[in-house]
């Protein structure tokens, strides 16, 4: 057990001597197993690439935010039942995401989301989580050192702003509704959507 890459695994707790297979070979091996079982992994890989590159993108959440900024009734519905409100704009969430809680930033309150146990996010709405969101550093630190971490990431919040961290430990999903920048008065919904970033919907940036 002195070599971490030689864990015994659930099947054969014996000393193993072969070198660890390169990652691409391991991926190909498991793909061939799914193929043997008639799961058509090759087709699904193509479909999934389309989903992650074109369907589950932060531009979805940006449209939701821009609508909330320009339509007070929609904003109320969004804050009351996020999943139903995003569905109005045609955005779906996976079956196991049964609830979307939208967290509104104000001059006095700043929200930020994380997943300390893994990487959970409302990925169909705000896009797949960026690499740093899944890294050990963000997961370990943001719940305990929120103000410090945000400052390190470029968001130096005034001392009187209350910070609210949301740890996605169940299947409820969260997104941050950023504050509308003062300089955007009179902008169209499209112009507003164009300035809403994934980082702002995670809560590590202000607009």
């Amino acid at each position: 057990m002195s070599d971490p890459t030689r864990s015994p695994g659930p099947v054969a707790p014996v000393a193993r001597v072969a070198p660890v297979a390169p990652i691409e070979q391991r991926v190909a091996a498991i793909e061939s197993v799914l193929d043997d079982h008639g799961m058509a992994p090759g087709e699904f890989i193509v479909q999934a690439a389309h989903l992650v590159e074109e369907k589950w993108v932060p531009e979805n959440g940006a449209r939701v935010v821009a609508r909330a900024w320009t339509d007070p009734a929609f904003r109320s519905r969004l804050l009351a039942d996020g999943k139903a409100a995003v569905a109005e704009l045609g955005f779906e969430m996976p079956r196991h995401h049964r609830h979307l809680v939208v967290l509104e930033n104000t001059p006095a309150v700043h929200n930020v989301i994380c997943c300390t146990l893994c990487s959970c996010t409302a990925f169909t709405i705000i896009g797949l989580p960026p690499d740093w969101y899944k890294d050990l550093e963000y997961r370990a630190r943001v719940v305990r050192e929120s103000r410090t971490v945000l400052k390190e990431m470029g968001l130096d919040l005034p001392a009187d702003v209350e910070i609210r961290v949301w740890d996605t430990t169940a299947d409820t999903r969260y997104m941050v509704l950023p504050m509308r920048p003062a300089h955007s008065a009179g902008w169209s919904e499209d112009e507003l959507a164009a300035i809403v970033s994934r980082d702002a919907m995670i809560g590590v940036a202000r607009l």
């Binding site: 864990s7 695994g9 659930p10 991926v27 890989i45 300390t116 146990l117 890294d135 305990r144 409820t172």
Partner: protein, 212 residues
């Protein structure tokens, strides 16, 4: 389980490696892995709780040194072996080398026998449970008291769902804790909200001062 994955509040980590417009994927194989595990979930080979738990069961040094998508791959492969889709020897023959897998699972558990419905404003304590199998309660709230701020629809109970144990679906509660209660004198002041399954919570009676 009190696993290495349960990172919330762990100290000693350096700055977040943040970049603007950071990618979700860094290599083509990562996208393949992401597709393959979600295909297996869609086809019912395993569920999301089993998938998460097989990541948590990775040997800790492997967990910490593996990239995110290597952890995903390890979980997928472990579950395919455990579910009998392939033997480990055959998998390693095809991979032309060792294929490190996660360690064996402990037993799961069903819902807590005593559960109650909470409402926003209720004071609750995270039970001081020590669970050998899968659990979605981060250790940093164990035994800590907070306030319910929201309720979500009923979900499969992960401690059971990851292990094939029968259990009722149950609601989760968004519970607000104070960071300075969680880590006295060593946290930035903030509210920390955690999505907590009903089975992990017990009511904290208010002191009888209001007369209500």
């Amino acid at each position: 389980m009190d696993g290495i994955h349960d990172l919330g509040g762990k100290q000693g980590f350096g700055p977040v490696r943040h970049t603007v417009d950071a990618p979700a994927f860094h290599a083509a194989w990562e996208k393949r892995v992401n597709a393959l595990y979600s295909l297996a979930v869609r086809l019912g080979v395993f569920n999301m709780d089993e998938y998460r738990h097989a990541i948590e069961r990775m040997e800790p040094r492997h967990y910490l040194s593996a990239s995110y998508y290597e952890r995903s791959l390890t979980s997928l492969a472990t579950l395919c072996v455990e579910k009998g889709l392939v033997t480990r020897d055959e998998l390693e023959r095809r991979a032309r080398g060792e294929f490190p897998l996660a360690l064996a699972s402990a037993n799961g558990r069903s819902n807590a026998p005593e559960r109650e419905r909470f409402r926003p404003g209720d004071r609750v304590r995270a039970r001081a449970d020590h669970v050998p199998g899968h659990v979605r309660m981060p250790a940093y709230i164990r035994g800590k008291t907070g306030v319910v701020v929201g309720e979500s629809p009923a979900y499969p109970f992960p401690d059971a769902h990851a292990h094939g144990v029968d259990a009722a679906d149950e609601p989760t509660y968004d519970v607000r804790f104070s960071s300075t209660d969680l880590w006295p004198s060593s946290a930035d002041p903030a509210y920390v909200h955690v999505g907590v399954f009903q089975s992990y919570l017990e009511r904290v009676e208010e002191p009888a001062t209001s007369g209500a």
